[in-house]
Amino acid sequence: MAIHEKALIEAERLRQHDSLTLEGVDVSGHWNTMIRPRTLRNYHEDFEKTLQRYPGAENVHRCWQCGSCTNSCTMYAQNLQFNPRYWIYLSRLGLTDELIKDKDIIWQCVSCNKCTHICPRDVRPEGVMKALLHWMEDQGITPKSPSTIFDEEFTAQIYKRGRIEDTHVLLGFFHKTKQSLFQPWLLEFSKRMSKRLPVKHSLRMGLNAVLRPKTKSWGNTGEVLSRYVSQQKESHRD
């Protein structure tokens, strides 16, 4: 006796012992199948406050679910599962289990900011999505996203020297994301760039990559900056 409407039940809600005998009765397989309900049993309304501590999500509570963000969204046109309005709603009620189901989609935001531009209530949906991503990383729900790793490499160099070195950032990023330096696009990019770049420029780039110069009078500015940022982050997460 198969469940006819099986497609209507998420696999993780099915419970079944393939082989089971109870009080001498063989009830293996579908004879003991149980389905767990899909009812939402509670809100976690504190989640809204948690999320609002992340930069970008401060205005999430203003949303009235008009749908302008989703309708204007670049990604939604590609993927109907990509629905900023819906995530904002889930965030407000703290339906985190539902949010987590979309953990592999939310990062697809291309930061075009059309949603933020169109929102009649200044919710800044793009910022909410970024905040959600960072919350998920902090919770260990998703691994650190490539964009976060890139950001970290970038800021680390700022703290140290008050400036970045493109080559160095790329090197660090590829190293930390365990990617090969010999990306075809990068090779092609370097090849074409070297054709057009004046020799003096190329030399300076090469030199900077090795010497890694600091911004003038940087001193311990980087240290102060880094301390400030981490304090800010701490205060967001308590």
Partner: protein
């Protein structure tokens, strides 16, 4: 006789009509069946009014004071019109007190009746102590403390259910009661002001805070007071067994059934036609529309008139209405009544 207007009902619309009549130099006779004036805002003890934010006792009280102090208004409290006859320009009404009133025109400001939530038994009013109505919530706000009636604890979560006794064919209420969305948003603000630790959820199908009520109440309740709006109409309320209430619904945005615990549930009760309307229709010889409110004579050329010439109406007698519009309609009905009387006098 032609300089006297009989006003039936001393709520906001009736008080306004009587004051307008008297201020224009005509005589007003105000008949109120209750022993106090003020109508629903006073009798039901509303807290702060929409949209002014003034306490009902002060705002409506001012209207009452003006009427009671006016030399050209005579007030009959605890009285009803029992017999009514005559023509425009010369009506005669017999009151339950035995007195007779002669008037050239009559204005019915007979208002509405609050929906009685026991008519939606599956929503728990009358079954569970912690299910109350917006009127009762107003009282709680007025008393200065938000608590669960069952045991006096401060609620962690309050749910306000919209459209209780409105937009519901199951119980023959097919109209929108117009003001409950705004009143509920206002209550959410007031609850939060008194009890900052309480989370307020409003369950809605759609939000109808029309006109200037939008930002002042709906937006404000979200932006400043973090009220959560959930798109679901609740189907049933039951007790959870641990002293809390369970709301069963479908979150139509998440598209999943929900069963959420709450400490206190508030019914945003709608406006029924006045229970007296069938009797009023008979006494005054006027027609009711199919929902049981008073029928208008004509929407464009005679919006203040009933189906009987010389008998006018205003406010919630015609259908769900706000307090401020009721007051405006009271003035409009008064001016129409006096204009018609004036024309009659000129012709005669």
């Amino acid at each position: 006789m032609q300089d006297t207007v009989l006003v039936v009902g001393a709520g906001p619309a009736g008080l306004s009509a009587a004051a307008s009549v008297a201020n224009a130099g005509y005589q007003a006779v105000l008949v109120e069946k209750e022993t106090v004036l003020g109508g629903a805002p006073i009798l039901s003890g509303y807290a702060k009014l929409v949209p002014s934010g003034e306490w009902a006792k002060e705002a409506i009280g001012r209207m009452i004071h003006n009427v009671e102090a006016h030399p050209r208004i005579s007030v009959h409290k605890g009285a009803q019109v029992e017999r009514f006859g005559g023509e425009p320009g010369q009506f005669s009404a017999t009151l339950s007190t035995g007195q007779t009133v002669s008037a050239g025109a009559t204005i019915l400001a007979t208002g509405f009746t609050h929906f009685d939530s026991v008519n939606k038994p599956e929503w728990g009013f009358g079954t569970f102590e912690d299910v109350i109505t917006t009127s009762q919530m107003e009282q709680m706000v007025a008393s200065g403390k938000i608590t669960c009636p069952s045991d006096g604890r401060v609620p962690e979560r309050v749910a306000i259910l919209l459209c209780v006794g409105s937009r519901d064919r199951q119980i023959g209420r097919e109209w929108c009661s117009k003001i409950c969305c705004t009143v509920s948003a206002n209550l959410a603000i007031e609850i939060k002001e008194l009890s900052p630790q309480t989370e307020v959820f409003i369950y809605y199908m759609d939000i109808r805070t029309f006109g200037l009520y939008e930002d002042r109440f709906y937006w404000k309740s979200q932006e400043e007071f973090k009220t959560k709006f959930v798109k679901a109409r609740i189907a049933e309320i039951t007790a959870s067994g641990d002293g809390r209430l369970l709301l069963k619904g479908e979150d139509t945005l998440v598209k999943r059934p929900i069963m959420i615990p709450f400490d206190l549930v508030v019914h945003a009760i709608g406006m029924d036609p006045n229970l007296d309307n069938p009797r009023l229709a008979q006494t005054f010889g006027i027609t009711l529309q199919h929902h049981g409110y008073l029928e208008r004579a004509e929407f464009y050329t005679n919006p203040c008139g009933t189906t009987r010439p010389g008998v006018y109406a205003c406010g919630a007698a015609y259908g769900p209405e706000t307090i401020d519009d009721s007051i405006a309609q009271g003035a409009a009905a008064a001016s129409r009544a006096m204009a018609d009387l004036h024309a009659l006098a000129k012709a005669g």
